[in-house]
Symmetry: C2
Subunit: 281 residues, 2 copies
């Protein structure tokens, strides 16, 4: 096993067998053949053709599209066709900084191959010239990655909240990090990937933050999403990521990015450039 | 002008009109039509065909290839066909961590579209919670980017020396940074690009380092390559990069990478993801 194995897991995708879901001429999703054929059952909502999926005529604004998609998803969910309903509306568009064309329930986002965004925060401690990282262990009840290792704080980016406000909220819920400390989190980049998972196609951008945590601070979960926290020497985190699949697939690559940016993985590593390329889609 | 303009300048390349230079089945260069036809004058060294350039039969090891190429380049240089002869052998291969197939004079590397590597070091100072960056102004006599702004320390990566030893050497030559300080430089990633410049095709990887410089240290150039150094508030560096072309084209993108990693450019910047993608080829 190697760091590149972790990155390869984030790039398992064959564009064949997917049709673009286009809205106002923008590609907002990639839908596999099975779902495309299933959507023929909703001709008032979707126009399914051999090379694309579009909204049915008349669905031409944010409200009507959001409502029509929601009705379809509720029916599919009642049928058991959607796993892990969250009740969290996610914004749908063709890029992060572009217009939001409609909202879609989070659990359906990977089914439709819609881009999703998240905030992941590396909590680290520097003590006596050595580097440590706070690692969370996800609750066994999480719909994705139950029991896997995770960043100190991470969460999806729902509609209607800024990245930094979302991060501050997640800091409070996931690790009881007070606002005064959370606002010191530094944005340091993002990782991007498209990969097939059991829940569907994950086309994610994770906006990453580093937070230097005071040595005497102990995170404490408040929302039941993290079972426990542990502070590891960074070399041990590197070994876990390199040699095991104990980290959730996308949290692993956020760690790889951290290890590169903090000089733990050095440029004479034979996969250095391959890792950098793989972290950015 | 924008940060993206700086990144776009590093991606000016149309693969049409270039033939691959392949050695042992590995693509080591991209040669434009004019040079490809010119190389027909050296049939003992190059086999020029419509879709590739190869070595002539018999040139099948490191020594014979290095010597044959050097003879061609000396003749071209005597003819005035190569600008800025350096006398520095660069390693040629299909990737940084792969085998070195032969050596080539540095000045010819962009003509043959051969990949080149460098080390660039951001020297920064943290004082009273504010960030400053040491910026060098290149000598008016440099063959590339005369008079342009540059990192505190930067240099090409020649054959036969490790990245860190090269950086320590450049630290001494360019900025009189003592070894004890230079070894604290932290590798933090790399930027990659392929772009057409007047000297030819630049297919570069710049391995980047950050060095936290003590507030009382003043760099001093010893090799004539840097005319002067100045410590700028980081916001001023960001403005210069965003609004002017005062930085050398590739030094500008190393600054953009620094600004992202240090949270100066924030993730709600509309070009954030475009910048990250552009920094990694």
């Amino acid at each position: 096993m190697s760091f590149m194995d972790r990155i390869a897991e984030c790039h398992v995708f064959d564009p064949k067998g997917h049709r673009p879901f286009t809205v106002d001429g923008r590609e907002v999703g990639l839908i596999d053949e099975a779902l495309a054929e299933r959507l023929r059952a909703f001709p008032d909502v979707f126009r399914v053709s051999p090379n694309r999926i579009e909204f049915a005529p008349g669905l031409d604004d944010f409200e009507s599209r959001t409502e029509a998609v929601n009705d379809v998803l509720l029916e599919m969910n009642a049928n058991g066709e959607i796993a892990g309903w969250r009740g969290e509306p996610y914004p749908v568009g063709d890029r992060f900084s572009g217009p939001v064309l409609f909202h879609m329930e989070r659990a359906a986002v990977p089914l439709f191959g819609v881009r999703a965004y998240g905030v992941h925060m590396n909590g680290f401690v520097e003590k006596d010239g050595r580097l440590y990282m706070w690692v969370g262990k996800r609750s066994p009840n999480k719909p994705t990655g139950p029991g896997k290792l995770d960043q100190m704080v991470a969460g999806g980016q729902p509609a209607g909240i800024s990245l930094i406000d979302n991060l501050i909220k997640e800091c409070a819920e996931e690790a009881a990090i007070p606002r005064a400390l959370a606002v010191k989190a530094k944005p340091i980049g993002a990782v991007s990937y498209t990969t097939r998972r059991k829940e569907g196609l994950r086309r994610d951008v994770l906006f990453n933050y580093d937070l230097a945590v005071p040595p005497d601070f102990e995170p404490r979960n408040t929302d039941g999403e993290i079972e426990s926290f542990r502070l590891y020497p960074i070399e041990e985190v590197a070994e876990i990521v390199r040699d095991t699949d104990r980290f959730k697939f996308n949290c692993a690559v956020v760690v790889v990015d951290f290890l590169i940016r903090h000089g733990v993985i050095e440029p004479d590593h034979p996969d250095y450039l391959g890792m950098l390329k793989g972290l950015h889609g």
